[in-house]
């Protein structure tokens, strides 16, 4: 199992504790305590996942998430003390895949990390189509015509989940379970924000989506193939 986790947190006690817990679960943690050094550490460590505190000295978590997203689809899980709409949505919009609110239990954290590091089941070559978007599941590639679209693993999972059952309307709760791995009810804003991010990459006009359609009051479904 992949296991390199980069912890970006200025609180040394918390970082150390996170280290203890992560090592206990078989992960390989490395630490950076300053926002300004985060990007350099990321390039050096090449982690499989980044644990990112939202409030940091120097460059703050939201800017780091944005910078990381600009060069990598690495899963990012935010640690935040604020569950207020604005902060969380801002973090998600800048590229974080998931978030966990302090104080959290070690088990919750590990579950979030595992969900994001989950390896897709070995599948025979599977090709899905929604509208003019072509998804090669095994190759993790999404194309519109000749144009290759670059999606993060999470966005890819989201799109594949919708595309596999094109007639089904997914509630946000279903997507949270299937894509994010939540067994219990969670924040549906995760779904809203990531659908927006996905649309901004794959739709011709994100204002009038044709690939990921909203079913008002219920959830989302894939557009016609």
């Amino acid at each position: 199992m992949k296991g390199r986790v980069l912890v970006v947190d200025d609180d040394t006690a918390l970082a150390e504790m996170l280290g203890i817990v992560l090592r206990g679960e078989g992960f390989e943690p490395s630490f950076v305590f300053d926002g300004d050094a985060a990007l350099a550490a990321f390039r050096q460590v090449r982690p499989d996942l980044v644990l990112l505190d939202l409030m940091l000295p120097g460059t703050d978590g939201i800017d780091i998430a944005r910078a990381l997203r600009a060069e990598s689809g690495v899963p990012i899980v935010m640690l935040t003390a604020k569950s207020d709409t604005v902060d969380v949505v801002l973090g998600l919009e800048s590229g974080a895949d998931d978030y966990i609110v302090k104080p959290f239990k070690p088990k919750e954290l590990i579950a979030r990390i595992r969900a994001r590091l989950r390896q897709p089941a070995e599948s025979v070559s599977e090709v899905l189509n929604i509208g003019d978007v072509n998804i090669d599941v095994a190759a993790h590639a999404v194309r519109r015509g000749a144009l290759t679209l670059s999606l993060t693993p999470l966005e890819f999972d989201l799109l594949v989940a919708l595309a596999r059952k094109p007639r089904l309307v997914f509630t946000r709760e279903m997507l949270l379970e299937q894509v994010w791995g939540y067994r219990h009810p969670a924040d549906t804003r995760l779904v809203n924000v990531h659908v927006q991010r996905l649309r901004s990459k794959i739709e011709r006009d994100p204002e009038h989506p044709e690939i990921v359609l909203t079913v008002r009051g219920v959830g989302y479904k894939a557009g016609p193939p």
Binding site: D11, A13, L14, M17, L18, I20, V21, G24, M55, L79, A81, K82, D84, T85, K102, P103, F104, K105, P106, K107, T171, E173, H184, P185, D187, T188, R189, R216, G217, V218
Partner: protein, 556 residues
């Protein structure tokens, strides 16, 4: 061919139309009156102008009447004096002539009349002379001869009958043979002839036409000037009030805009008069108000900032503690018994601490006015199922069965799912905890504009005096009861705030021994006003309080 005369129904139709027109006219009149009434009540300027107009009309009218009266009296008095003195001279001349006359009085009278006629009217121009006989010769002679004898008023003639009557006068109408008439002053005197016992009466008639014209002119002038004066005064009053009212209106407008939230609104200050002082003090007030409001806003911002900071500062070390406690707890099997128990206590109390901290932060967010509604359409049925599933483990431990009654169609409302989920969980946990193991029933209903969820338990219930207090912070129904559950005491307060944030209601009903009902009513459209709830608060079959079972006995 002429049209046929209106038949019965046709006439009726006309009558109806006429009465309709009449009604319409009445309504129109009433509208105009109402509008005028409104203007009257609202406009200080109109009121002052109109009252000035009325009062000055009365004053000027009285003045005019007195003035005209005085002028008339003066004119008439002067005329009378002149006329009397002229008449007296005339009478004296006539008496002298009569005394010298030895012949028939008729001749003398005729001569007198001729003389008056020849002189062209004596004693003055335009004056008529009437000589009337009494007794045998009752004929009258008038100069000029188209003057009627009837011009002499009978009252004056009677006054002349005395034996030694002085010259007397009366106002009369001078009548001519051709029907003309003019006001006149009649002065008469008896005329005696030594040669005859016959007494004659001599009257001079002084026409007052000139005076009447003068009086009419004076009257007209006074009326005209009075009217103009009144209008002028009204206009002046309107102008002056306008000068006062305009700044007041400006101030009222500024105050309205200020109260509408435009805090930078000020009045323009010019000059040094009282109204300028009004503007200055208004601006001062507005400035103070703005400063205070901004201060409050700043405080509230600081408070929010503080809450957010505390949240962050407190949560980070708490996370470390939490994780450390968890590691210890997981490893408790390896510890001696006392340390293992300590790890367990640490774990459970940390849970409580966390719940309390979360609730405190939530409530302070409400206190700071920082709670924001994030509404989107959601099916309340699925929200309830989710909340019920979350409470299920606790319900199972308590032996409580939770049943849900949903309408056939989904109840979709614009709500903040996170908050409503929290409210529902709170109500469910409460019902399970206070339900004494009895069943908990969740009922959902909807109408055009609202959805309602009622959570009913069959536990110890609530006394009437407790109902308003259940939403108080840290309130407990029975302080003596052991704190068996991990509730923070803030759950219902937060639930109430959550429902208010939606523009909804959260209400409680309870009777000792019959359990309690908490009903949440939410508008279907976020921000819409609630007018009623689709569900009754009091459950069907609730018994009146005096028949209540002893507390603690399950209802079912």
């Amino acid at each position: 061919m002429p049209p046929p005369p209106p038949t019965g129904p046709h006439r009726d139709h006309l009558r109806v139309r006429a009465s309709l027109a009449f009604t319409e006219a009445r309504f129109a009149l009433r509208r105009v009156l109402a509008r005028t009434g409104t203007r009257w009540r609202r406009s200080l300027q109109l009121r002052i102008a109109v009252s000035t107009l009325l009062l000055s009309a009365i004053a000027v009218g009285l003045l005019g009447v007195v003035l005209v009266q005085r002028i008339v009296t003066g004119l008439v008095e002067a005329k009378r004096r002149v006329a009397l003195s002229e008449a007296t001279a005339g009478f004296a001349a006539a008496a002298q002539q009569a005394a010298q006359n030895t012949g028939s009085p008729i001749i003398a009278i005729n001569a007198l009349a001729r003389e008056v006629a020849n002189r062209g009217g004596s004693p003055a121009e335009g004056v008529s002379l009437v000589i009337l006989g009494t007794g045998e010769d009752s004929t009258g002679r008038a100069v000029p001869d188209d003057v009627l004898d009837a011009s002499v008023p009978p009252g004056l003639r009677r006054a002349m009958n005395g034996p030694a009557a002085p010259p007397a006068y009366a106002y009369t109408t001078l009548r001519y043979r051709d029907g003309r008439a003019e006001p006149a002053l009649a002065i008469g005197s008896p005329l005696f002839f030594p040669s005859s016992t016959q007494v004659y009466q001599l009257y001079y008639l002084f026409p007052l036409t000139q005076e009447r014209a003068t009086i009419a002119l004076v009257r007209g002038t006074v009326a005209l000037t009075s009217g103009l004066l009144v209008l002028l005064l009204g206009g002046i009053a309107a102008l002056v009030t306008r000068q006062v009212v305009t700044p007041v209106r400006l101030a009222a407008g500024a105050a309205e805009r200020l109260s509408a939230g435009r805090l930078t609104e000020r009045m323009t200050v010019s000059g040094e008069d009282d109204l300028t002082r009004l503007a200055v003090s208004f601006n001062l007030m507005a400035g103070n108000l703005q400063r205070q409001i901004e201060q409050l806003e700043e405080l509230s911002r600081l408070q929010r900032r503080f809450v957010s900071d505390v949240s962050h500062e407190l949560r980070t070390p708490l996370t470390t503690v939490r994780m450390a406690a968890d590691v210890l707890y997981e490893a408790r099997a390896d510890f001696p018994q006392q340390i293992a128990r300590s790890a367990e206590l640490l774990q459970t109390e940390l849970n409580r601490f966390e719940a309390l901290l979360a609730d405190l932060l939530e409530i302070s967010r409400y206190d700071a006015g920082a709670a924001l509604l994030d509404p989107e359409p959601a099916d309340l049925g699925s929200l309830i199922r989710r909340a019920t599933a979350a409470v299920e483990p606790l319900a199972v431990r308590r032996g409580t069965e939770i049943s849900i009654r949903l309408p056939a169609v989904p109840c979709v409302a614009e709500v903040d799912s996170r908050r409503i989920d929290r409210v529902l969980r709170n109500l469910l946990v409460n019902a399970v905890e206070h339900g004494e193991g009895g069943p908990v029933e969740v009922t959902v209903a909807q109408d055009e504009t609202a959805v309602a969820i009622a959570v009913r338990d069959h536990g110890v219930g609530l006394r009437a005096s407790e109902i308003p207090r259940v939403f108080d912070r840290f309130w407990r129904a029975d302080p003596a009861r052991a704190r068996t559950t991990g509730g923070t005491g803030l759950g219902l307060s937060i639930a109430l705030e959550d429902s208010h944030l939606h523009g909804g209601w959260l209400q409680a009903w309870g009777r000792p021994g019959q359990g309690a009902v908490f009903r949440l009513t939410l508008p279907k459209r976020a921000g819409a006003e609630l007018t009623g709830s689709p569900l009754p608060l009091e459950p069907n079959g609730a018994r009146p309080p005096r028949l209540a079972l002893p507390a603690g006995r399950p209802d079912a």
